[in-house]
């Protein structure tokens, strides 16, 4: 063969060798290097230096990629399928065994996940429901509500019929346009039976060409054309006539007779159009002749709104522009500065306008979604913490699997599988929990989600996505950590202590959990405090012990008769009549008052019609001038007479430019084309909820518009008083539906949203803390088992129970405190942003934070001490003798 050593000059160029070593596939490199070296020597002998180099280089190029063929690794062992049934059975068995071996951890894990996921699923249903509003109309993307904004920047609630007529006749882009006028609840009398009918509306047939409804009898074209026509839904038909209602007649509000000319299927709950009784627009024209006028621009009711259907492909912008310029021409009549067509999809989220059904602001929905995600996050953190501590115990199983040939991917798959089992079990329990929770959602939040179909296809999709996402979130860290562990270490030592990094990650996660929980707690306390503040704030008038009943016929003589009848009874203290009580959302009359002192020459005032007893009754003091007397009628209004005497409130006086209310006396105000003279000023009070600013008021003494009786009763004899009122009222108004309300309840209702939201927050905070402490509980119990021997040795050496409890609790409590330090500024920022939205707001006080801190420390301490005291009380002999 060849000489063992070759002369120095017989070696191939170094760089070529390096090139080969660098680029040639590593598995055949050694043999190829050897072969080429041998060949080089041979070539050298055959043809000398140049020849050998040339051939060597050519050969090297021929064994470099892409020319070289790669040797395929020979499979000595055929890997069984990862998803082989036997392996799956093994995985399931291992999962089941490890779950049942650590019953406590599994339970804690499952409970935490179930709680978190259950609430998250409920929130999903609510959010989905709120977003589904009015999506079902077949032309939904072309339907718009006509909105107007007045020159003070306020949304004007109503749309005048003249605008609808203009839209219909002058805009080719508009396919249909209609007014929809909601009248709320009215009395109806079918035969001898009297009902309180909710959701009464006036509109024309065009409205049903805009929105979708299923007609059982009649049609949009024919059923709403003539005066006296009414369409009802099947539910109302059943209620009033026990079934077949077509062609039947009933008495409406003791005003007119209506004949049923059509029946529709009850509209879905997720609609802003809860139309149950639809009366033809022609009927309205007869009942209120001002609606015949389709040329003027003034007047209107906030529940009278306008809807349009644009033609396909038409844009809303030209309509906006046209209407706006038209409105500017009629400035004197309207005061409207701008018209905007609002897409139907935004209608449900617009809380500024009066809603036919109810509206929900987007920030609430976003907060719900955020809270849901936070809860899922807390539950996942729990899972991660518990899984990582368990991983130490499972170290040997993993080591064994690795030794027997399990790959890393396979192990990761196995642990993901185990997580998935737990997560999907939790999802099943969680959705059962959610199905129960959703029933209470209307008490927690202003939503009707409970009435919707919750088990739709999208729920299944959501649950699947949720399951996969949570499995991934909760499973990734434990799976990667576990599969990384080194078999030798796990098999060598009996107990491998958790590595330093793992501990710090767990600590971070615990801190994060408690930060979230504490922020929720602080927000909750503040929310509750704000609601309490609303309830207890002095509104500027007396509100307790007052019952209100409607006066249906606005007849002053009847009012007086009712008053005298009521006053005969000892339970009744006092009676007054007015358009509304001092604080009321309903029947809010307003008008533009002209006076030269106003910036624009005019300002919007709230109008209140009162009797002479009104201010006495509500304990609203006069700060200047005199009260109204029965001679100060508004009979002069609308004529050229100037004998209208009015009262205003302090806010109005300041707006007029008088710091001293006395100075406002005698001022002439112009309203609706006639003059009024200020004769007195009353103190300010909050006539709306405390979320709104004080409004300037103007008060008239009238007899024609007293719509509500307020009755002060003896609080000790509520039931008797109510009975007396009902008897007298029914005797006076036999054809109307009696409904008495407490003024305080009405005022409380202003804050329903806040109240419900604070209920919701309480639930979330509770669950947040609960899940957090579940996780802590699991962790502590693990640490205690890990340190059993240490504790025993300490005890033997004379440690006391308190010192051991302290030893075990200290670290965890420290984490809770760190969380508190982080949570405080976060919560403070969130809360100050939240409170900015309120004009009347409670203070953010230090004790709120202190309370949240103490609460979480106490909860954490209780959780920890249960386990640590148990450990400290254990007999050391037991754990020391078993080795």
């Amino acid at each position: 063969m060849k000489p063992a050593t070759s002369p120095h000059n017989q070696t191939p160029p170094r760089w070529a060798q390096r090139l080969l070593a660098w680029l040639h596939p590593s598995d055949t490199l050694e043999e190829v290097q050897g072969d080429l070296e041998e060949l080089y020597v041979w070539w050298y002998k055959e043809g000398g230096h140049l020849y050998a180099n040339t051939r060597y280089l050519l050969s090297i190029i021929s064994v470099l990629p892409p020319f070289v063929r790669r040797r395929q690794t020979r499979q000595n062992y055929r890997q069984p399928l990862l998803m082989h049934p036997a392996m799956i059975r093994n995985y399931l068995k291992a999962a089941f065994r490890s779950l049942s071996k650590n019953k406590l951890y599994s339970l804690v894990n499952l409970a935490g996940l179930t709680l978190g996921l259950g609430v998250a699923i409920t929130l999903f249903w609510i959010v989905r429901f709120e977003y589904s509003f009015d999506r079902y109309h077949s032309k939904a993307d072309r339907i718009y509500r006509v909105n107007s904004i007045d020159k003070f920047g306020e949304q004007q609630p109503h749309i005048h019929q003249t605008i609808i007529k203009t839209l219909k006749t002058q805009y080719p882009q508009i396919e249909k346009a209609a007014n929809l006028y909601g009248w709320g609840a009215k009395t109806v009398k079918a035969g001898t039976k009297i009902f309180n009918q909710n959701n009464v509306f006036f509109t024309s047939g065009d409205m049903f060409d805009i929105i979708d409804a299923e007609w059982i009898e009649g049609s949009p074209k024919q059923s709403l054309n003539a005066p006296g026509n009414v369409v009802i839904d099947d539910e109302t038909a059943l209620k009033m006539f026990g079934g077949n209602a077509m062609g039947k007649t009933f008495r409406f509000d003791n005003l007119t007779d209506l004949t049923v000319s059509g029946i529709i299927r009850k509209l879905p709950v997720n609609s802003e159009f809860p139309l149950q009784m639809i009366i033809s627009w022609e009927t309205l024209k007869q009942l209120q002749p001002e609606f015949k006028n389709e040329d003027s621009w003034g007047g209107g009711d906030s529940m009278d709104q306008g809807f349009v259907l644009l033609k396909k492909g038409a844009s809303a912008e030209p309509v906006n522009k046209g209407l706006t310029s038209l409105a500017l021409k009629h400035q004197d009549d309207t005061g409207i500065a701008k018209f905007v067509l609002q897409p139907l999809s935004e209608m449900h989220f617009d809380t500024e306008k009066d809603a036919f059904n109810y509206s929900m602001s987007k920030w609430i929905i976003y907060s719900l979604a955020c809270i849901g995600m936070f809860l899922i996050l807390i539950a996942c953190i729990n899972f991660i913490n518990l899984a990582t501590v368990q991983s130490i115990q499972r170290g040997r199983e993993i080591a064994m699997r690795k030794v027997l040939g399990s790959g890393k991917g396979q192990l990761i798959g196995q642990f993901f599988g185990e997580t998935a089992i737990l997560v999907f079990v939790a999802i099943i329990f969680g959705s059962l929990l959610a199905a129960n929770l959703i029933r209470y959602s209307s008490e927690m939040l202003n939503t009707q989600a409970a009435q919707s179909e919750i088990w739709q296809g999208s729920t299944i999709v959501f649950l699947l996505i949720l399951g996969i996402a949570v499995t991934f979130l909760a499973g990734i860290y434990p799976a990667v950590m576990l599969s990384k562990s080194e078999p030798i270490r796990a098999l060598q030592s009996r107990l491998s202590a958790p590595s330093g990094r793992g501990v710090s990650l767990r600590s971070k996660l615990i801190v994060l959990q408690f930060v979230i929980a504490q922020v929720l707690v602080i927000c909750t306390i503040l929310g509750v405090k704000q609601v309490k503040y609303f309830y207890n704030k002095d509104l500027g008038f007396e509100k307790s012990g007052i019952i209100t009943v409607a006066i249906p016929d606005r007849n002053a003589a009847n009012c007086e008769r009712l008053r005298s009848q009521l006053m005969q009874h000892g339970q009744i203290r006092d009676v007054t009549f007015g358009l509304t009580t001092p604080a009321s959302h309903r029947n809010h009359w307003w008008g533009r008052i002209k006076h030269h002192a106003f910036a624009d020459g005019e300002e919007t005032f709230r109008i209140q019609h009162v009797d002479t007893n009104y201010f006495n009754f509500f304990h609203i003091p006069l700060v200047a001038g005199r009260k109204l007397t029965s001679t100060d009628t508004t009979s002069g209004l609308g004529t050229s007479k100037e004998n209208t005497y009015v009262l205003i409130n302090e806010k109005a006086a300041t707006d007029l430019g008088f710091k001293n209310p006395e100075k406002a006396i005698g001022q002439k105000l112009e309203i609706w084309g006639s003059k009024g003279t200020v004769v007195g000023v009353v103190r300010n009070y909050n006539s709306e909820d405390l979320k709104s600013k004080l409004m300037p008021h103007i008060y008239f003494y009238t007899t024609w518009n007293l719509q509500l009786a307020s009755i002060r009763i003896d609080n000790q004899q509520k039931a008797a008083a109510l009975a007396v009122i009902e008897k007298s009222w029914k005797a006076m108004y036999p054809n109307y539906y009696f409904e008495a309300k407490f003024l305080e309840d009405d005022i409380t209702k202003f804050y329903d949203n806040e109240k419900k939201l604070s209920n919701f927050l309480q639930l979330f905070a509770g669950i947040g803390i609960l899940i957090g402490s579940l996780g802590l509980f699991g962790l502590v119990s693990f640490v205690v088992t890990q340190r059993t021997k240490e504790i025993s040795v300490r005890k033997v050496l004379g440690a006391t129970v308190p010192s051991i409890v302290k030893l075990l609790s200290k670290d965890f409590l420290k984490l809770v405190l760190v969380a508190f330090v982080i949570a405080v500024p976060l919560a403070w920022y969130a809360m100050s942003r939240f409170l900015e939205g309120y004009i009347y707001r409670t203070e953010i006080e230090w004790w709120i934070f202190a309370m949240a801190g103490i609460l979480s420390v106490v909860v954490a301490f209780l959780t920890i001490s249960f386990q640590s005291i148990k450990a400290a009380l254990m007999n050391p002999v037991k754990s020391l003798k078993s080795e």
């Binding site: 055949t28 050897g34 072969d35 080429l36 050969s59 790669r70």
Partner: protein, 110 residues
């Protein structure tokens, strides 16, 4: 007859491995090839052909022990498998049969 899937160059390499009988590795195969056929081949061609033949199952290989020569690098020794020897036998048989069929006067000319 079943056709053995073997190219001309592959056949020659296979035969050379058989000739070398236990001493067949990259360098020797390359040298023998050049010596007997007189054509110059780049080493890559031989290398790739060996791998391909092994994949087809006509050859098997294993790394030999460390050697004193060539910097202590191991050699990959190739051996013809049973399938491989049947393949070259088949080819030879086929050629023989074909030769028999060639008319006699043809052969005389050459």
């Amino acid at each position: 007859m079943k056709r053995t899937n073997l190219g001309e160059f592959e056949e020659i390499v296979l035969l050379i491995v058989a000739i070398l009988d236990g001493d067949a590795y990259g360098a020797t195969i390359n040298q023998e090839l050049e010596r007997h056929t007189g054509r110059k081949v780049t080493f890559g061609t031989v290398h790739n052909t060996l791998i391909r033949l092994e994949e087809k199952g006509f050859l098997t290989s294993k790394l030999g022990g460390a050697t004193a020569e060539r910097g202590g690098r191991r050699k990959r020794i190739f051996v013809v498998t049973a399938l491989g020897s049947r393949a070259i036998n088949d080819i030879q048989q086929l050629r023989n049969e074909l030769w028999q069929m060639v008319p006699a006067h043809f052969l005389k000319l050459t």
